[in-house]
């Protein structure tokens, strides 16, 4: 068994200590906004809890839980302006909800049903939302980095006031996309922010085995990109760091590499068993740094949240979620016709032929869906 972290986090920027006490300057956020951050984090945790249970019962195919990392996505999401873009690594679905992705679209994507905006062409748990400038995830590590940099550069060329915030994990800092992306962004001073969510483990590869560098933020130095270490379990620090980084990118001062130090409490995904490669003691250590408990204690201490109100909030979120799950689970399947649609304006003869053959085969084996008619040949 190996422990994940031996690289320095250089006294990460922190506003709330694990016990909820204030150790830095509080950001300019209203009471309602502060409670909203807690609600957003709590919603992510409720969703993860339910989705894993649905997956284990075979009701959805796959899920990657964000448990323990809620502050990274919610704190960051609140710092972005509506015109900004968020390029996801692989656990920022909660950020998209925070910025406008409707919960039923989120759940529809988990079921890959007829309401899934990806039309079942993505693996479940890989979201996209046009309305909140949230491009579809890629399972391929780091590809979103050069894409985001290019989009940021294009936005400036077109005179748009957009900042592109590009999320990725510690493993992606070893990918080609990271190096070319940071290099171009540094040279062009592209209006983007790199957010490295350092959660200790790239599936089963610990940070110890990921890099020989002293810190992840040091990796920006080679590209002239300033790095910053942040306590990723402090939602307010995540907010403030992203606020400053997006402001600076918006001013034309170029990108920053913001490292949000957190911990993946669960497996990499529903197909992973972390007990095979890591020590449970390490997980326990991080349990004490829980981002949601920290925010709860902070809000309770300053009187923004009544004692016990967090439990009511959780019940409310579960109820809202369960209603959506019931609806989406009963929704129709994605129509088979979509298999051959959307590539050509009109489905060409060879695809029609293949599709009709597919229907005949289905009919033969008893799986044909009655609502799908054949294409007229």
């Amino acid at each position: 068994m190996t422990l994940a972290v031996n690289i320095s986090t250089n006294d990460p920027f922190q506003i709330l200590a694990p016990d909820g006490s204030v150790v830095g300057d509080l950001p300019q956020l209203s009471e309602a906004e502060l409670v909203d951050i807690l609600r957003g984090m709590l919603r992510v945790r409720c969703i993860d809890d339910r989705m894993l249970k649905l997956q284990r019962a075979g009701r959805i195919g796959f899920v990657g839980s964000a448990m323990g990392q809620e502050a990274t996505m919610i704190g960051s999401a609140v710092a972005l302006l509506p015109q900004d873009w968020l390029w996801s690594g692989l656990r920022e679905g909660g950020a998209a909800i925070m910025r406008g992705l409707p919960l039923d679209e989120y759940v529809a994507q988990m079921f890959c049903n007829a309401n899934d905006t990806a039309k079942g062409r993505q693996m479940c748990n890989h979201f996209q939302h046009k309305g909140s400038h949230y491009p579809s995830w890629s399972s391929v590590i780091g590809t979103q980095i050069p894409h985001g940099v290019g989009a940021a550069f294009a936005a400036r060329q077109r005179g748009l006031d957009e900042v592109h915030v590009i999320f990725f994990g510690d493993g992606a800092s070893s990918s080609n996309g990271f190096h070319s992306g940071l290099n171009f962004a540094g040279v062009w001073k592209a209006p983007c922010v790199f957010v490295l969510v350092h959660n200790g483990w790239a599936i089963s590869v610990s940070s110890r085995n990921q890099t020989a560098a002293n810190s992840y933020s040091a990796k920006g130095t080679a590209y002239g990109v300033e790095g910053r270490e942040v306590d990723g379990n402090c939602a307010l620090a995540c907010y403030q760091a992203l606020k400053e980084a997006t402001d600076s990118a918006r001013r034309g001062a170029g990108p920053q590499l913001v490292v949000l130090n957190t911990y993946r409490m669960g497996g990499h995904s529903s197909s992973d068993d972390p007990s095979k490669y890591r020590d449970e003691a390490e997980v326990d250590e991080w349990r004490d740094k829980d981002p949601i408990e920290r925010m709860t204690r902070f809000l309770e201490a300053r009187g923004s949240l009544a004692a016990g109100a967090v439990d009511e909030l959780r019940d409310e979120l579960f109820m809202e979620l369960d209603t959506v799950i019931r609806t989406q689970e009963a929704a129709p399947r994605m129509s088979w016709r979509t298999l051959v649609e959307d590539v050509y304006a009109d489905v060409p003869p060879h695809l029609r032929q293949q599709y009709n053959q597919f229907l005949i085969t289905q009919e033969k084996y008893g799986e044909a869906s009655p609502s799908d008619g054949a294409f007229p040949l």
Partner: protein
């Protein structure tokens, strides 16, 4: 309604899972999302939750059973019909609200072929058979009146009485019948070990004939000596001694591949796994540090270990840690075999039947024919880690030692 809960694919591409333990009993009331059973797959051990509130009506697998993904492992009785059904079914039944293509009321009667057989697609025939529907009575909605699957289902659900409630035909059996035994336990472990070995290590086998006339004589004397001490001396301790001497000379056959570090490991000691036929199946207890032990000591240890192994009293740590193995089929029969390596060993020695044959013996007056005793030996080697010449050299030296067994004391 009743939910038949099928074991889901909880990883990406998991084929089956072993029931570790049930967390509920038949008759228990459960809530949606409550853990029902712990299942171990190739990837992880996970708790499977209930898909709905209800009462468990039956548990259909036992702890220890390996069940394929998709088989029903428990049934759940839910209140009313409105709760969540099997996901796929729920999705299908709700799909689009488009009417099922049921047969129109005034459909023409089914068209028969000249042989009097109704025209129907194969899936319709299968469904008709399963539901006990007489295809003659179903109006076909397909082209030229061909009966489709939906026609059969609509006919069945319309409440039309099954014409001939034919029970599912019994499987065809020979006069002798058959016995079905659950494939698990030691047999399953052996199967897994054999598959791993055969499909990981490309095997080759070298076979050698050894004149053991002198060994037979030596063993006869040793047997008498051992009997005085209460030790049964077989050929095996001599073979083990010779093997240890050979392994010291050809260490490339005494090792393993450490796939984690990508290193070839060669051992400076010989722990010999001895394949043993037991009432429970094949087990391979290990005798350690054979190179340091004499023939009589080996004979004593072997007899004791073999007896405990057959009695099922061998300890788990005595079944692991071999550096090389020996399998002896000779006392049963067969003149040669191609043994499968006791993976992750690199090689295994096969010992075959002792037999008298006419042999050519070199004497001072030239060659002559004598009645000699012979044994065949085979060695199977992992060709990833050693080559044919290594196996052949091993057997050549092995032969030298056993044909002149005085050399074993060297």
């Amino acid at each position: 309604m009743t939910i038949e809960f099928k074991l889901p694919d909880v990883g990406e591409g998991v084929a089956d899972g072993e029931i570790v333990q049930w967390l509920v009993s038949a008759g228990d009331r459960v809530k949606e999302h409550q853990a029902v059973v712990e299942v171990m797959t190739d990837k992880a051990t996970v708790e499977i939750p209930s898909p709905a509130d209800g009462q468990i009506s039956a548990l259909l697998a036992e702890a220890g059973d390996v069940v394929p993904v998709g088989s029903v492992i428990f049934t759940l009785e839910t209140e009313g019909g409105a709760t969540v059904a099997e996901p796929a079914l729920a999705a299908a039944s709700a799909s689009g609200g488009t009417a099922v293509a049921s047969a129109p009321p005034a459909a023409p009667p089914a068209i028969k072929t000249t042989t009097g057989k109704v025209l129907a697609v194969p899936s319709a025939r299968r469904v008709a058979r399963d539901l006990g529907v007489d295809l003659d009575r179903v109006a076909g909605s397909g082209r030229h009146g061909v009966v489709r699957r939906a026609d059969v289902e609509a006919f069945h659900s319309s409440g039309a009485a099954p014409a001939s409630a034919a029970p599912t035909p019994a499987p065809i059996q020979g006069s002798g019948g058959e016995t079905r035994t659950p494939f698990r336990g030691v047999r399953r472990k052996i199967a897994e070990a054999m598959v791993r070995s055969a499909f990981t290590a490309p095997h080759f086998t070298v076979i050698e004939e050894v004149d053991v006339t002198d060994l037979v004589a030596l063993r006869g004397r040793a047997k008498a000596l051992g009997a005085a001490e209460g030790v049964k001396v077989t050929y095996m301790p001599f073979i083990m001694k010779a093997t240890a001497l050979c392994l010291a000379r050809f260490p490339m056959l005494n090792g393993t591949l450490d796939e984690e570090t990508n290193e070839l490991v060669n051992f400076h000691y010989s722990n010999l796994g001895i394949a043993t036929d037991t009432p429970n199946g094949l087990l391979v207890p290990v005798i350690k540090a054979v190179e340091q032990k004499g023939v009589l000591a080996l004979a004593r240890e072997l007899a004791e270990l073999a007896e405990r192994t057959r009695a099922g009293k061998v300890k788990p740590d005595e079944l692991v840690g071999s550096t090389f193995s020996i399998t002896n089929a000779g006392n049963i029969g067969g003149i040669m075999a191609t043994p499968i390596i006791n993976f992750p060993d690199i090689a295994i020695l096969g010992v075959h039947r002792l037999m008298k044959k006419p042999g050519v013996v070199a004497g001072p007056d030239g060659d002559r024919i004598e009645v000699r005793q012979y044994m065949n030996f085979s060695i199977s080697v992992d060709h990833r880690l050693a080559d044919g010449a290594d196996g052949a050299r091993f057997l050549a030296y092995f032969r030298t030692l056993l044909e002149d067994p005085g050399l074993l004391s060297l």
